[in-house]
Amino acid sequence: MSLWEFANPVRFMALSGKVLPWVIGLTALTLIPGLIWGFFFTPEAVNFGNSVKIIYVHVPSAMMAINIWVMMLVTSLIWIVRRHHVSVRAAKAAALIGVTMTVIALITGAIWGEPMWGTYWAWDPRLTSFLILFLFYLGYMALWAAIENPDTAADLTSVLCIVGSVFALLSRYAVNFWNQGLHQGASLSMDKEEHVADVYYLPLLLCLAGFVLLFIALVLIRTRTELRLVRLHRLEIRERMKDA
């Protein structure tokens, strides 16, 4: 038995239906305690004061924002190469989650930036990259929404996702270059992932796991919805052809 067995929509529906309650349960078991731990039971940090608590929503959402795009790239490639319906529907299902994560990362980053750097927005390479990532998500979703034929939409959005990934990566380096070019050495990055003590690290880890599980649960539900929509679409076409 190979992994591709799950690419069959029927098998996927059966399996994901069985797995889903477990994933939802695990999400609740990690995300809720993680967030509560992070919010109520973590001490102040020396440099950041209590504002360090924002890390528990900011870092997980930022990591998910990038990883979800990577997941969409992989599933789009699988669709282009092997034409498995589950794959491309999963990419579509993930897009809205990805864009939400990007918005959360941007908003929490801006709110955190105000007390830390004295400004809501700076054209710091990381912030700028996220704004660009947000634009790419928007374009991807807009293309899905604009095309009526689901198979054409699947093909075109996959092509866009692949080409877009290349340009997103290019933008990442371009932005690095561009900002350093403007203000030499005045970087605002805080290297937050490095030197974080265990008191903050453990709840952060739990939150990260919670966000990953939440994403898996949501993407399973949304992929199931998308597959049902495909089936619904087919049934409607068949009905219309019978009527005609």
């Binding site: 919010f39 109520f40 102040e44 004061g49 209590n50 504002s51 608590k53 924002i54 929503v57 900011h58 959402s61 809205l96 989650i97 939400t100 918005v103 959360i104 908003i107 929490t108 709110i111 955190w112 105000e114 007390p115 939440l214 949501l218 539900i221 949304r222 199931r224 919805t225 049902r228 929509l229 089936r231 619904l232 049934l235 409607e236 068949r238 009905e239 019978k242």
Partner: protein
């Protein structure tokens, strides 16, 4: 109540925004899932009813 100090506004607003967005996402996903499930159910019934 927890003492958040001078960063209370920042912490509460960022956590509030995050939770609001996540809950909205979950609700949208869940509602759409129920809607589509129902629609597919009726469509399948009709299809099998017509032969």
């Amino acid at each position: 109540m927890l003492e958040l100090g001078k960063y209370a506004d920042a912490i509460l607003s960022s956590w509030g925004a995050t939770l609001a967005l996540l809950i909205a996402l979950i609700l949208v996903t869940w509602r759409r899932s129920v809607q589509v499930k129902k629609a597919l159910h009726t469509a399948e019934k009709r299809a099998s009813g017509n032969g």
